[in-house]
């Protein structure tokens, strides 16, 4: 992945920075410049929002056929997590046996390696989730 493409998203990938609409109060992740619900009324009124990092699993799978970058991790759990703020994200669930992930399970954010551009390339970091304490 090109260097600037990943670097640009660091605030969201490292710190779950999204946005909150100053007009209707809805949250978005990644951050948006315009609220899809409010349109023009939200321009200039979007606020920075840092997600709490807590959520619950709404669906999950165990990936067996993985792209090369994820070879070391397979089989790994992929899930859609509904964050406390109401929006959803997709990432891996770690520090848990694949068979023990359930819909509704509370999770919290962890900081992990997402991948790298080969042995000599840049390493990408970001959010994954682990069972909530």
């Amino acid at each position: 992945m090109a260097i600037p493409r990943f670097w640009r998203e660091i605030p969201s990938r490292y710190n779950l920075i999204g946005s909150k609409c100053g007009n209707c109060g809805a949250s978005d992740f990644p951050p948006r410049a315009v609220c899809p619900r409010c349109g023009r009324k939200s321009v200039g009124r979007m606020e920075r929002l840092k997600l709490s990092g807590r959520g619950k699993v709404v669906s999950h799978t165990v990936i067996h056929d993985a792209p090369k970058n994820f070879d070391m991790m397979k089989p790994y759990v992929l899930a859609i997590v509904e964050m406390d703020e109401g929006l959803r994200v997709t990432s891996q669930i770690i520090d848990v046996e694949p068979g023990q992930v359930t819909i509704g399970m509370p999770v919290e954010v962890a900081f992990r390696k997402l991948g790298e551009e080969g042995e000599a390339g840049v390493i990408h970091y970001g959010y994954k989730f682990k069972p909530a304490l």
Binding site: Y14, N15, M72, M73, I94, F111, K113, I123, Y125, L133
Partner: protein, 351 residues
């Protein structure tokens, strides 16, 4: 006014492997090796973990305990390790972004074998005592490798600890610090080499013990104390024997050494070793209790610290994030094959 520890946080990955499992592969009585080293298991980083991820987890844990710390007031971040993921591009910058301390701060990575983290603590003490910055963050973290079938394979493990150093609201004061440093080639790794080399038995008397004991005695002298004045003592722990021997030589008792001696369960976390031991002590220490800590890094040197816990420790939330004990006890045991895979000891196809 002296600097102190304002908050602390540790991190240990949950994977473990036993000496028995390792020995079986190399035709060695692993259980006997383990007994000889006083190590029952060591920690192994997962495939998506490295010094950077562990440093971030430890740093975030420290901040979670003390939410009064504004990350923007952390003026310096130093990460000491001998297994930084990049040879050039500091771990400290990624930690800075991940705790939202960036961009107005200074940062750098340190190396001094197993005492790079404590060297960072001393640097942060200087910066905060001189009022250059309000807080400095010192991190020791490693995912150290032992060469396959080498003695170090039974002990080299992974962990991280982060200390926020400053003057206000300290939970423990760093009353004194002193160091003892010489050119002693007991353990080293040349640039580009995958595994370190060491001088076998030379790593004992002329290296570990000479520096730890010399530093400890200098510290006693500076502080005007003796072993019985302390509630806890923690020494660098390359195995479970050296720190106990050093401690006993200096007059410490088992009960003073017990809490900080994590090596028996998680192995030698190198730059994090003494610091995770300190975290375990701070997790349970009471105001007024005193701690004696001497780190050791090959090459060689020792950093010693005389620490007193303050009332401030009750003002932070020591249960936020996880305690060291909880992390040490959250385990998943691996077989050697999985361990070799995670530690990238298996040669994969290029391209």
């Amino acid at each position: 006014m002296t600097a102190g520890i304002v908050s602390y946080g540790g991190y240990v990955p949950r994977y473990r492997i036993t000496p028995k499992e390792i020995g079986a592969v190399w035709g060695v009585d692993g259980e006997a090796m383990g007994k000889g080293l006083n190590i029952r298991s060591k920690s192994v980083p997962g495939p998506d973990e490295d010094v950077i991820t562990m440093s971030v987890e430890a740093a975030r844990s420290a901040l979670r305990k003390a939410p009064h710390i504004d990350p923007k007031d952390v003026g310096a971040i130093y990460v000491g390790s001998e297994s930084h993921p990049y040879a050039v591009k500091p771990t400290a910058t990624i930690v800075a972004e991940a705790i939202e301390a960036a961009p107005i701060l200074t940062a750098a990575d340190f190396e001094f074998a197993c005492k790079a983290g404590t060297a960072a603590i001393q640097t942060c003490m200087g910066l905060t005592m001189s009022d250059m910055y309000r807080y400095g963050m010192a991190i020791g973290a490693d995912t150290s490798q032992g060469a396959p079938s080498d003695a170090l394979e039974y002990s080299a493990s992974a962990g991280a600890a982060a200390f926020v150093i400053g003057k206000d609201l300290a939970i423990a004061t760093l009353n004194h610090t002193i160091s003892y440093t010489t050119d002693t080639p007991d353990f080293w790794r040349r640039e580009g080499q995958a595994y370190p080399s060491h001088g076998g038995r030379f790593t004992g008397e002329p290296a570990y013990f000479k520096h730890v004991l010399s530093c400890a005695n200098l510290l006693f002298k500076r502080a005007g104390t003796r072993a019985e004045d302390y509630d806890f003592a923690v020494f660098h722990q390359p195995n479970g024997k050296f720190p106990v021997r050093a401690g006993k030589t200096l007059g410490f008792l088992d009960k003073q050494l017990e809490t900080g001696l994590l090596v028996r369960e998680i192995g030698n976390t190198y730059s994090a070793a003494i610091m995770v031991g300190l975290c375990a002590i701070l997790d349970i220490a009471k105001p007024g209790q005193r701690i004696f800590a001497v780190a050791y890094g090959s090459g060689a040197g020792s950093d010693g610290f005389d620490i007193t816990v303050t009332d401030g420790i009750d003002a932070i939330d020591r249960k936020a994030g996880r305690t060291m004990r909880a992390m040490v006890e959250d385990v998943k045991f691996l077989d050697y094959a999985t361990y070799a895979k995670y530690r990238k000891k298996i040669r994969m196809k290029e391209g």
